[in-house]
């Protein structure tokens, strides 16, 4: 039986690029005064990776850049979804960011509280109850 490391390479690339994107999107959206600039940078990075994948001489390198490129493109799109989460209060707004300060002023649903920063309790709660738990 022959060993094929391509699956392992694809798995590592997918896992770490998803992890990087998950953290980077939240961090960048929180501190960036605009969405279009980081979105454009992610889009350019994504397209560059896809081009490198097209030109790659080995399947391994093509796979790594193919997956990386798609996750970068997805991250560009996720920045917009993250802003919608801020508006809904599903992610904490950063009052030091002028864009977030404006959202906090315009949308009553927006909050600086991270409502997800706790352990599951195994029961259904309302949001005010959850906010009170966080304040304790």
């Amino acid at each position: 039986m022959t060993i094929n490391l391509l699956g392992l390479i694809a798995a590592f690339t997918a896992f770490f690029s998803i992890w990087f994107g998950h953290v980077a999107v939240r961090k960048i959206e929180s501190i960036s005064p605009t969405i279009w600039l980081p979105s454009t940078i992610f889009a350019i990075l994504g397209l560059a990776c896809e081009w490198l994948s097209l030109e790659a001489s080995s399947l391994q390198i093509a796979t790594v850049f193919g997956i990386l490129g798609i996750t970068f493109l997805f991250d560009g799109f996720e920045l917009n979804r993250q802003q919608k989460r801020i508006i809904k209060g599903h992610a904490p707004a950063n009052p030091d960011n002028s864009r977030h300060a404006k959202i906090l002023k315009e949308y009553a649903s927006a909050t600086t509280l991270d409502l997800l920063k706790r352990e599951p309790m195994g029961l259904s709660l309302t949001i005010p109850e959850d906010a009170r738990l966080l304040e304790k």
């Binding site: 039986m1 094929n4 694809a10 798995a11 953290v23 093509a62 193919g66 490129g69």
Partner: protein
């Protein structure tokens, strides 16, 4: 010029897309305590990918396994989302085997 990497990337996008309902339904039906099982399935699929000689299938299996492992780290946060009403809360969950033991372990979150 080879389209192999781009095609794997597009398949990756679809598999990541499948990861969302996997986490939502997994938590709703089996609670976040199913995380070791989801993680285990992910590692088994990744290990299996090493023994697949067909390149595209091996890569797809690797991505699928990675999505299961990632999904296992999202279950805890999904449980909180359901508890505060952002997603329907599963009232009648089927707890996975050894749930009482798993409850004492710290669920992963990245």
């Amino acid at each position: 010029m080879s389209f192999f990497g781009i095609l794997i990337g597009i398949v990756t996008l679809f598999i990541i897309g499948l990861g969302f309902p996997l986490v939502i339904q997994g938590e709703r039906r089996f609670s976040y305590l199913c995380w070791p099982y989801m993680m285990g399935i992910g590692f088994v699929v990744i290990i299996a990918s090493v023994f697949i000689s067909i390149s595209w299938l091996s890569a797809v299996a690797g991505v699928l396994g990675a999505t299961f492992v990632w999904g296992s780290t999202e279950l805890k946060e999904q449980a909180v989302r359901a508890e505060i009403g952002w997603y329907p809360y599963g009232q009648r969950k089927i707890l996975p085997p050894f749930a009482r033991i798993i409850e004492k372990w710290k669920a992963p979150h990245l």
